[in-house]
């Protein structure tokens, strides 16, 4: 072990400081700047999310009382709130309001956007199924059918099969529609009255194959 005096120690510290002082100070400043920056950033994003949340609540209220004003609110929210979960909700609401008011073009555009850009599989699936409904309303069963060809997770199968039935029915392919409805009834938790009526309207499958194409 070497013996060092206090003077030597002080000297060595001074020397070290002269060599590294600037780096240390820069490092410290950088660290502080990063910290402050991070706080500011997270405060900003937090604020954005909370604002978007409030605006979504307001949108829900307006949608009840004044659908046309709500349409405008949904549009601006879906644009302003990008990056928050409320952008997607607003887009879905926008599509809903448009479709209800007969503007299928807007509804289609929004649903397509959600379907293609949603971060979450469930939202993408919802958008796909709703888009298929909008296409059917727009008299484009072929396109709806193509859309429904894509692979569907089990949870959405009942809805997808029923829509497939609707599309086939619209194309006049009754036997296939019946099969699709039957499949939908098999996987549905609780088949709706609508589904059952559609299925009933197609009658029993004919064993003689009279109806088969």
């Amino acid at each position: 072990m070497s013996v060092t005096t206090d003077e030597e120690r002080i000297e060595s510290i001074q020397r070290w400081w002269q060599e590294n002082g600037v780096a240390v100070i820069i490092g410290l400043l950088l660290g502080i700047a990063l910290l402050v920056g991070w706080r500011l950033w997270s405060g900003y994003t937090e604020n954005r999310v909370l604002q978007a949340s409030d605006r979504y609540e307001a949108l829900r209220d307006t949608a009840q009382s004044d659908p046309e004003a709500a349409l405008e609110q949904a549009r601006s929210l879906s644009e302003d709130a990008s990056g928050t979960p409320y952008a997607t909700l607003a887009a879905l609401e926008w599509a809903r309001l448009a479709a209800d008011q007969g503007d299928l073009e807007t509804a289609e555009a929004q649903l397509r956007r959600v379907m293609e850009s949603a971060h979450h599989e469930d939202q993408a699936q919802l958008a796909r199924l709703r888009l298929a409904r909008v296409l059917l309303a727009d008299d484009r069963p072929e396109e709806a059918l193509t859309l429904l060809e894509a692979e569907t997770p089990d949870a959405f199968l009942a809805l997808a099969r029923e829509l497939r039935g609707d599309a086939l029915l619209a194309l006049g392919r009754e036997a296939e529609a019946r099969t699709a409805y039957d499949e939908a009834m098999m996987v549905a938790v609780r088949p709706s009255d609508y589904l059952m009526m559609k299925r009933d309207a197609l009658g029993e499958p004919d064993p003689a194959g009279r109806e088969a194409p």
């Binding site: 937090e46 999310v49 909370l50 604002q51 949340s53 409030d54 979504y56 609540e57 829900r60 949608a63 928050t84 979960p85 997607t88 909700l89 879905l92 609401e93 599509a95 809903r96 448009a98 479709a99 209800d100 007969g102 299928l104 509804a107 979450h120 599989e121 469930d122 699936q125 919802l126 199924l129 709703r130 409904r133 909008v134 059917l136 309303a137 997770p153 089990d154 949870a155 959405f156 009942a158 809805l159 549905a188 938790v189 709706s192 009255d193 609508y194 009526m197 559609k198 009933d200 309207a201 009658g203 029993e204």
Partner: protein
């Protein structure tokens, strides 16, 4: 020694040891080290626990909700506990999943939104507006902090956003509403023919001995008399017990003396007070000042001013000052020790010196005294006797039950010892089957015990059975008759009736099918009907989806018919047969109200189905572990 360890415990050995100790804590946490709460977790959703406690609360809530449907009380047997439990568990798992999803996806509720929600809750409102004081009070009573409650509200809001973001945003297009109404409002004009089986029933005499015999041989197992038992039992009836007790006058007197307090209204004194408040933690000076103020007030009263007036002017007791300090009638204990000691030693009209309590200095004035009053023995005699009788009977009952149980258990092959020990008679029952009986056999608990393996197969006494009305009993099987075939004579009539019904049904079905074929081949319906034995007439009906003019199966068949002229046959319950032919399909034009309702119906339909799909999808994606053994 310690020093040595310290010296050596540097370097890698020490770190290795520390690491080894740290690993279990890192992996399983301190919880598992202390035995943890692992036992109460019934399921894990992505690693987050669902506790037994939460499950029980949910089961209770769902049961209450069900009970409400039945008007407050659940009839027995309606509830499948297992299914209820599974459903409650699913609810909890889904709620937890939604909570996690909302958190991961960054859903938030702002403070303003929470405040708005809070303001909407009726219990926190006073005259229709939110009342902060009321809010604080109610939370305190529930032992909740505002922070926790508001965090809960925020969570609820966020879950609602997630849910309404699916349910509320489902589009319903005009063509769809139209299509739905086309189907739902459809009216089908049909020709309907009902063939009652009874019209084909052969006369009784036509069913010969051979047919009956054949049926009997073929269906032996249906004509067996059920297994039955006769029971011996010892029954303990609390009501009878109470009547048998005799209670002497002397005993009642003694009880009266012992319970004198119960029949005495204690002394009451009416007093008024002046309070000079001393704040908590006040300095010596302040205390002294308050004492002086109290003395001053006393002097004013002694010098002739009325207590009432002085109290109104100087008393700090807000509740009583306005009434001249009046405290009303007081019993010992109402005011606390210090004041009691003064109040209950004063003479009427007297004014006390200042008395120090935690609140400050009190001046008391005694207005008047109601001496204690005791109800005389004669007045309470009946009450006393009833109480005593009930108490005696209860302890006697416990004793007898105990003996009954022990003796029946220790001598499992006979009821004699149990009867002897309790002084009760052994009684005998009528024949009882698994499904029914008379007398005690009418009680399900009795039948269940009688046919339990212990009693029936091993021939032992039953356990002590508690009947719904409070009686208790022990039973054993005295005679047992296994299930046995019944002789033909005993069941002949029943068989004949069955054959008749069967043939009638066959007749109706066959006739119906022939008819169906004929009509399909091109015969007119009216012509085909002419030869039928029944006075069956074809009726033309307008069927709607909700018509109940025909059985549900006929209606469904009618709506499944494909085009005008098509006909189908429907076998019905009870052997009847129906024929429906579609005449025309009409679709009435819906009105605005119907359109709106259909739109809402479809929205809720698709909303519910889509939300269910989303939930199922989340479930499929999640790591859900259910601990069945802990349910």
């Amino acid at each position: 020694m310690l020093q040595k360890i310290r010296d050596k415990a540097t370097g890698w050995i020490a770190y290795t040891i520390i690491l080894l100790i740290a690993i279990p804590f890192a992996l399983w946490g301190v919880d598992s080290y202390f035995g943890g709460s692992g036992r109460q977790v019934v399921a894990e959703v992505n690693g987050e626990p669902v506790t037994q406690q939460a499950l029980q609360r949910e089961v209770r809530q769902q049961r209450d909700r069900l009970a409400q449907l039945f008007g407050g009380r659940l009839p027995e047997g309606v509830l499948d506990e297992g299914a209820l439990r599974d459903q409650a568990l699913q609810t909890l798992i889904r709620r937890e999943l939604l909570r996690q999803t909302a958190r991961e996806r960054g859903y938030r509720a702002s403070a303003q939104a929470v405040a708005r929600e809070l303001a909407r809750i009726p219990v926190f409102q006073q005259d229709g507006t939110f009342d902060a004081e009321r809010y604080a009070r109610i939370l305190e009573a529930q032992r909740l902090t505002p922070q926790a409650f508001e965090a809960d509200l925020a969570r609820g809001l966020v879950l609602e956003q997630l849910e309404s973001g699916v349910r509320g945003t489902t589009p319903v297009t005009a063509p769809r509403v139209h299509h739905y109404l086309d189907l739902a409002l459809q009216v089908r004009e049909v020709d309907h023919l009902h063939l009652p089986a009874s019209a084909w029933a052969p006369p009784k005499e036509e069913i010969g001995e051979e047919a009956v015999q054949a049926y009997y041989n073929e269906h032996q197992d249906r004509f067996r008399a059920p297994e039955r038992v006769r029971l011996d039992y010892v029954l303990l009836d609390p009501a009878a017990l109470e009547e048998d007790l005799s209670i002497s006058e002397a005993e009642l007197r003694r009880q009266y003396e012992m319970q004198r307090d119960r029949f005495t209204t204690p002394e009451e004194r009416r007093a008024a007070q002046i309070l000079i408040r001393v704040p908590e933690g006040a300095g010596e000076d302040a205390v002294q000042a308050a004492r002086e103020a109290a003395r001053g007030a006393r002097d004013r009263v002694l010098n002739g001013e009325s207590f009432d007036k002085v109290a109104r002017e100087v008393s700090d007791d807000r509740l009583t000052a306005g009434q001249g300090g009046d405290l009303g009638w007081l019993q010992r204990g109402d005011l606390g020790n210090a004041l009691d000691g003064v109040l209950f030693t004063m003479a009427p009209g007297e004014v006390s010196h200042p008395v120090r309590t935690a609140e400050g200095f009190h001046l008391l004035k005694l207005e008047s005294v109601r001496p204690p009053k005791t109800e005389p023995f004669e007045q309470v005699r009946e009450r006393l006797e009833a109480d005593l009788r009930a108490r005696r009977a209860e302890s006697r009952l416990m004793e007898l039950n105990e003996r009954l149980m022990t003796q029946a258990f220790e001598h499992p092959r006979s009821l004699e010892p149990a009867a002897a020990a309790t002084g009760l008679e052994i009684q005998g029952s009528q024949w009882i089957t698994r499904a029914k009986g008379e007398g005690i056999g009418a009680l399900e608990a009795v039948r269940k015990a009688a046919f339990s393996p212990q009693v029936l197969q091993e021939g032992q006494n039953s356990d002590l059975i508690e009947l719904p009305d409070g009686r208790t009993m022990v039973l054993r099987v005295a005679r047992h008759e296994p299930s046995r075939p019944q002789p033909l004579e005993a069941v002949e009539d029943r068989i004949r009736e069955r054959i008749r019904t069967q043939r009638a049904a066959e007749g109706a079905q066959a006739a119906g099918r022939d008819l169906l074929q004929a009509v399909r081949a091109g015969d007119s319906l009216d012509e085909a009907v002419a030869d039928l034995p029944a006075d069956a007439a074809v009726e033309r009906l307008q069927l709607r989806r909700d018509s109940d003019a025909v059985p549900a199966r006929v209606r469904e068949a009618a709506f499944a018919l494909d085009g005008a002229g098509e006909v189908t046959g429907v076998p019905l319950e009870g052997g009847d047969y129906a024929l429906v032919r579609l005449h025309a399909v009409k679709t009435p034009e819906p009105d605005g109200e119907q359109r709106t309702r259909a739109r809402e119906h479809l929205r809720s339909l698709y909303g519910a189905a889509e939300f269910e799909a989303v939930l199922r999808h989340l479930e499929d994606q999640a790591d859900i572990e259910i601990h069945r053994d802990r349910l």
